[in-house]
């Protein structure tokens, strides 16, 4: 239960933190920490406009997308706190719940018959397909390393026999990159871009409004928090006292948000055809991680 509460609190703050970091770094006054939440609050109080072309899929997709992420978040540990649902092979359910949300997003973007939204959908489907192996290879490496078969045991890296912080950092690096691709942030995609032709996530929700848009934005917040929590569990040992774990968790989340903010400030986004190379690089890094784990396991 603690894990879920931590994830929910993090989800409220991470995106705001990124935006805040960006404005401070670029020397702007910028919006406050709670601006994303205020935006959602405004959206929740608005009515709805549907596209004339759209049908039932547009109406159910945001709900399914949000719900699948909520169920996925129930399986994620945070800073050594156990998640609500944990069983052998839960990472498969986790990954395929993300796939469910992706399927519905893509279908919804086609439902409006738009000439733009398909573009985002096409990229989302391709990048989602490419990034999934990275996550699974990482998991395979962790299964070899820790000998566990559930998210809460395999991401509890410090519990492993041969742990040193370097493993945690490598895993965090890979997870961070996966989070960037899953959420379509810089350098894959710039959520603040103004041109429909170059968007990924934003273009898929052009015709979504009001409550539905709020759901989509909450989903995106939740996704960040999920990956942030996974990173925290790989670094923070579960053997620490509760208080220090909470402090460390906050520190890790703060660092995660600030680093993403720095990346978004100082890095330009890729050309669209470079994105595939970036994702393939992430896959290769996780393959390397797997190989390293294999050999260290045999040597030690």
């Amino acid at each position: 239960m603690t894990a879920l509460i931590l994830i929910l609190i993090t989800s409220l703050l991470t995106t705001g933190l990124i935006v805040r970091t960006k404005s401070i770094v670029s020397g702007r006054k910028g919006p406050g920490l709670f601006q994303p939440l205020k935006n959602i609050w405004v959206l929740l109080r608005k009515g709805l406009v549907y596209s004339e072309t759209s049908g039932i899929i547009t109406r159910i997709a945001p709900v399914v997308v949000f719900s699948s992420l909520v169920v996925a978040s129930l399986m994620v540990p945070a800073a050594g706190f156990k998640p609500l649902i944990s069983f052998n092979g839960d990472f498969i359910l986790f990954a395929y719940l993300l796939a469910l949300s992706r399927f519905m997003m893509i279908a919804a973007s086609f439902d409006t018959g738009s000439s733009f939204e398909g573009m985002g959908a096409s990229r989302e489907a391709l990048y989602g397909m490419l990034i999934e192996p990275a996550l699974f290879i990482l998991i395979a490496g962790l299964v070899v390393f820790t000998g566990g078969y559930s998210i809460s045991t395999i991401f509890n890296l410090p519990g492993g026999k041969y742990y040193s912080l370097i493993y945690g950092l490598i895993v965090s690096y890979i997870l961070g990159n996966i989070a960037i691709v899953e959420n379509s942030r810089v350098p894959i995609d710039d959520p603040k871009t103004h041109l429909e032709l170059t968007m990924i996530h934003e273009v898929m929700v052009l015709d979504t409004s009001g409550f539905n848009l709020a759901l989509i934005q909450m989903t995106s917040l939740l996704k960040f928090a999920i990956f942030g929590s996974l990173i925290s569990s790989t670094i923070i040992p579960a053997s620490l006292p509760v208080f220090w774990r909470l402090v460390a968790f906050s520190g890790v989340q703060l660092l995660f948000g600030v680093i993403l903010g720095f990346i978004e400030s100082f890095r330009a986004r890729f050309r669209m055809n470079r994105n595939q190379q970036f994702i393939l690089t992430v896959i290769l890094i996780s393959v390397l991680f797997f190989v390293v784990i294999l050999f260290t396991k045999n040597i030690l």
């Binding site: 992706r102 000439s115 395979a140």
Partner: protein
Amino acid sequence: MIYLLVFLVVTTLIIMIPVRRVSLFTAGISIFITTAISSWLAIDVLLSEALSDRGLLSVLHEYFSSLIICDKLSAFFILVINFTVITGFLYSTGYLKPYLKDKPALWVKLHYLALVWLQASMIMVPLLRNGFYFLMVWELMTLSSFILVIFDFDAKGTLKAGLTYLIQMHVGMLFILAALIISSKGYRSLTFDNLEYYFLNNPNWPVFLLFFIGFGLKAGFFMLHTWLPDAHPAAPSHVSGIMSGVMIKLGIYGILRITTYLLDDFAVIGAFMIIISAITGLFGVMMAILQHDVKKLLAYHSIENIGIIGMGIGLGIYGTAIGNNIVSAAGYAGALLHTLNHSLFKSLLFYSAGSVIGQVHTQNVEKMGGLMKLMPYTAWAFLIGALAISGIPPFNGFISEFLIYTSLFNGIGSAEFYPLIIFFIAMFSLVLIGGLALLCFTKVFSVIFLGQPRSDYHVKPVEVGPVMLLAKLLPVIPVILIGILPFVVIKPLISITNSLFRVDNIIPAETFSLPFKFISIGAGLLLFIVAIVMIIRKMLLLKRITTTGPTWGCGYCAVDSKQQYTATSFVQEYAELTRPIIKTGHTKINYREDEIFPGERDFHTHSDDFIRSKIIIRPADFIINVLRRAAIFQTGKLQHYVLYVLLFLVFIFLLTYLKLI
């Protein structure tokens, strides 16, 4: 056997009675009776604890004991066959209606006759161990399905596709026959049971490989698949559903049956199966994405799913090799469950696609669109099938893939270095297959059913009749039930795997039931949260205005349905990424210089199956060329032929004289 033959002959005679409607009615009754009897036998066997106890049908069994042996594996396949044949028959009654006017009555009768015989032969295949009878029903199955495939023989390419199928099936039969003869050398009878002794004294993998080629041609493994993408688009949709859903699974049955006899070479055979299946799965789905013909796309997906099933079998064999029973049991159970699941959602998809094709009169997805509003039930059926085949919870495809993943991760977690590499490759392929299937099915579902129509439908499509909808509803129920309550199926599955395979320590079903309970909880929670959020939205919107407006077009308001995203553009980046492997060609005619007012132009893109062109078309062309050259000897003049005879005699005489022969 004899009763069945008499029964079938009587049915045949009644079906051929030249009165309208009689054939349909009789075929229905015949299929129903065959289903009832065989399912009774199958359920009886599945429920009985010991293998020898055959319960109610023991009398029948005594009579047939030398011929018919029904174990749990056979029983499982019989149930799978019966379900899909029943839904296929229901579907055909609606699907064939528009054809009844054009086609000769005799041809329709023959079609139903073939359907009856196909079911009977498919049921007999898993029951027979005697090689001679087995090959007989195997051949019967091929012939009857051939007649079913060429139903629409006037259409371009149908007959050719049917003949390709027929020839390749006979090549496959030759391999099975060869393997049987080799393994029965020195024994009086030609049965599969001889394998038990043969494998004891001889290396196991060569004969397994022969059987694999023979059965693999039916199942559609990589390099043996070339008939599938031709035959499925040519066949009527219910036939595609039955063939893809269950008939190709009998190839899987054959491989599983051979697997039960294996005694040695587990590591080699297991690794071979895993690698070839990984390639099969990846190849199938990679080709599928580039197809625009919806039935061809589904045919390539059958190849993909055969890959997944084969991977499960491979893991089962490999698990035995490394002595890991959980890997083995989860692999086999995953393969069996995926066999069942694929028969459900693939027939569902073929039926839905067939309904759409029947309404819009094209198989090209680029000409469809916006059908969800016109055919809502069909669209929902297709959506559920698409989600299930992509392995997405809470549908049944996820459960079988979960079992195979369980097997893989257990292998990764506990194996030594080299086995681990194999598990790693398998896992990598399975993940990629899952992602690619999602890409493919978001494309095909969205383009067919969502947005606006991409071409003028000359007749406005309407929802199909209740019988065809019932045929879709029947598979939808188990697709959802297995997805939400997976722990119900695990016990019978594990009992099948435990009864058959040489697993030293019997794995209790409880090993897998705990994760399944949590998956069930997860699925329930998902539905619960969806419902809650829906209700909250409804409550919030009571006080607010919900309107509709035009789709955002960047300020441009005259958006035409032709400006929608198409299937080709959706997969364009993917096509560029895979260009080194799969070449997509295009044909177009350039403008001439003197062409001041250009006329209409055609532009076609096509992705060639490079395996098909390399191993089927090119050798066949080569042989045809050689034979054509040889045809100069065929002059048609009697003198020349007499000369040939004389030359031949002289040649033989010379050889004998020189003591060469």
